[in-house]
């Protein structure tokens, strides 16, 4: 059966991870389960940048998944999607930062709420706003795993956002075209 596995990483705020369960399960219409991760986090840390390499983390999990699939062919749940949730800053090598990353049309994605916190911008802490933002980013990155590219509609959660205000501006749902691609994959 299809499902989404949420992997809390490192000292991530568990409450934030749990807050994602309900909305994700409602949108993707499948169970969202909390799992434990076994990632050698230090291996992905860049001392000079003080950031974690999200591309390498996704790569690591993908390799692990295919190894598992080879060991247990036909294992139940082998179609699950994996979303890593992190509280530290992420980068992909050529860019200064990312909010998250996903395999386009694949199964593994990652989001971090590090840059979604108001405190980072000298604003008062606002937990409901933070939860809203991380939820949008989780939906967005999982959307990429369904092969969705950025949507031009401002209201759609697949609208590109490279700045935290962009996230607040866009909607928290998929537009009709994008949701169709999610609910009838490969249609």
């Amino acid at each position: 059966m299809n499902s989404i596995h949420l992997l809390p990483l490192g000292d991530v705020d568990r409450g934030i991870v749990e807050s994602l369960q309900q909305p994700l399960s409602r949108v993707f219409r499948m169970p969202v389960l909390l799992k434990e991760a076994n990632l050698p986090l230090d291996a992905f840390f860049d001392e000079a940048r003080g950031q974690y390499n999200s591309t390498a983390m996704i790569q690591f999990l993908r390799n692990e998944q295919s190894a598992l699939a080879r060991l247990h062919p036909g294992r139940e749940g082998s179609h699950e999607r994996i979303l890593m949730v992190f509280g530290s800053d992420l980068y992909i090598p050529v860019l200064t930062y990312v909010f998250g990353e996903a395999e386009l049309g694949g199964r593994v994605a990652i989001v971090s709420y590090y840059r979604l916190r108001n405190e980072l911008y000298g604003l008062p802490l606002q937990r409901p706003l933070l939860l809203k933002r991380i939820c949008k980013e989780a939906l967005h990155e999982l959307g990429h795993t369904y092969g969705l590219t950025h949507c031009l509609l401002q209201d759609c959660v697949m609208h590109a956002s490279t700045y935290v205000e962009d996230i607040d501006l866009k909607g928290d749902t998929f537009c009709p075209d994008c949701i169709a691609a999610v609910q009838n994959p490969r249609a």
């Binding site: 980068y91 992909i92 860019l95 930062y97 490279t162």
Partner: protein
């Protein structure tokens, strides 16, 4: 534009850079590919269309600058953005000099990258639109070039040549059919505004409300029937030229609005409150006696002086009969080509008739006459009978027979006196009855 139709090529020797940028743009929905060196990049130019190339400046073998030069030899169409490992002003400046669009330093700020790409694509589209526009415009101007070799038309061309490169307001005056719009286009095409549109507003035959919304646009619901917000011609002419044809026909209220927008280059849409700016040059045209209209109080004097800065007067065709043959041959070629017919020339009788006619409808009437003749013509040349009836009915005499001279002289005197029969008869030293007979005999008609 569909993002899938936009191609981005990443050129970098580092695999990780190629991979991450490719992925980044792919998530945006672009068509993306990567090349690991200059040679591979040049190979990918063949058979593919790329809108944007991101090129690493430091690569083994052919470096980014050299690749940029090679690309520029092949095409100017592709926007090249240079990637540098750290801000090296020297090489970045060199890249810009070689025609790079911009340069970015690694690691790249994602927000900056997205906006840079968006900006580059927008500018690319603008350049393309302008090029299309320019092609249409030059097509138009060659299709209807101002033809003639008479001193009158040479004077017109000299005026156009003088005023075109300036930003001066121009008033074109002339009877209808003399080609006022052609002159407006020629002025626009000779100006620095030529890459922006020339927008024509025909002020004749429009109600006050309609003309206002045509000029200034309207907001949704501004009046009955305004279901969508619409941009007005003043707004569309931004950067270019606003050509107001039949300016003598606008009502007093619109005259005032027009004066204001010409003076301030600011306006609001009908039913709107936002102040919109537009930078345009004004060319207007009229066949009316505006000085008289000002005296009669139906044309604002201040607007008249605003518009009447530089005047180009187009002579009626009858004042430059020497150009008739050249114009006729020009239109003959134009319409035989359009209709793929093989009419080569005019018979001497037909040309004689064309030269003898008064052409109250001017060049436009001549063009229509030739067009019609090409349609009905069956032989290799246009015969007198192929021409419209009125053209051949009352030929203007240009022979040296005594009768011709008499005909010409009487017509001249009548024109001079404004068809005052008594005064004409007295000048000619004949009685009025005789004059009436001569008028009938020569088929003279009072010109409008």
């Amino acid at each position: 534009m569909n993002k899938q139709d936009i191609g981005i090529l990443v050129v970098d020797d580092e695999l990780i850079v190629r991979e991450s940028l490719t992925k980044w743009f792919r998530e945006d929905g672009f068509r993306v590919d990567a090349a690991e060196n200059g040679a591979a990049a040049l190979r990918k130019l063949q058979g593919n269309s790329w809108n944007i190339m991101l090129v690493d400046i430091k690569m083994p073998g052919m470096d980014g600058i050299e690749l940029l030069q090679r690309i520029r030899e092949i095409t100017k169409e592709i926007t090249v953005i240079i990637i540098t490992a750290f801000a090296s002003v020297d090489s970045a400046v060199k890249a810009l000099k070689e025609g790079a669009y911009d340069y970015i330093t690694k690691p790249i700020d994602p927000d900056y990258l997205d906006h840079l790409i968006e900006k580059a694509l927008k500018e690319q589209q603008l350049v393309r639109e302008n090029r299309q526009l320019r092609d249409t415009v030059s097509e138009l101007s060659t299709a209807g070039e101002i033809i003639g070799d008479s001193p009158e038309i040479r004077n017109v061309m000299e005026l156009i040549h003088t005023v075109a490169p300036t930003d001066t307001t121009v008033m074109i005056r002339g009877e209808s059919g003399t080609g006022k719009e052609l002159v407006a286009r020629a002025i626009h095409n000779g100006s620095p505004r030529r890459y922006f549109p020339i927008v024509t507003v025909n002020c004749g035959g429009m109600t006050e409300t309609l003309l206002e919304s045509e000029l200034f646009g309207h907001e949704r619901g501004a009046f009955t029937g305004a279901q969508q917000r619409r941009k007005g011609k003043v707004e569309l002419a931004d950067g270019g030229t606003l050509f107001l044809d039949e300016i003598g026909n606008i009502d007093m209220k619109t005259q005032m609005d027009l004066l204001r927008v010409i003076e301030t280059k600011q306006f609001t849409r009908v039913g709107g409150t936002d102040i919109i700016r537009s930078d345009f040059r004004v060319i207007c045209a009229t066949n009316k006696d505006l000085e008289q209209a000002v005296k009669d109080g139906i044309f604002r004097e201040d607007l008249f002086y605003r518009l009447n800065v530089f005047t180009v007067c187009l002579p009626p065709l009858r004042k430059r009969p020497g150009d008739i043959a050249q114009l006729a041959h020009y239109f003959l070629e134009k319409y035989t080509r359009a209709m793929t017919k093989t009419v080569k020339s005019f018979t001497p009788e037909a040309m004689h008739a064309l030269k003898g006619y008064d052409w109250p409808g001017n060049v436009r009437e001549l063009e229509n006459a030739v067009e019609r003749a090409v349609v009905v013509c069956k032989g290799p040349s246009i015969e007198k009978d192929d021409l419209p009836v009125q053209t051949v009915a009352a030929p203007r005499p240009d022979g040296r027979k005594l009768e011709d001279i008499e005909h010409r002289y009487i017509a001249e005197v009548l024109d001079e006196t404004g068809w005052n029969i008594t005064r004409s008869a007295s000048i000619l030293d004949i009685d009025r009855v005789t004059l009436y007979h001569k008028i009938e005999k020569f088929g003279l008609k009072r010109k409008q």
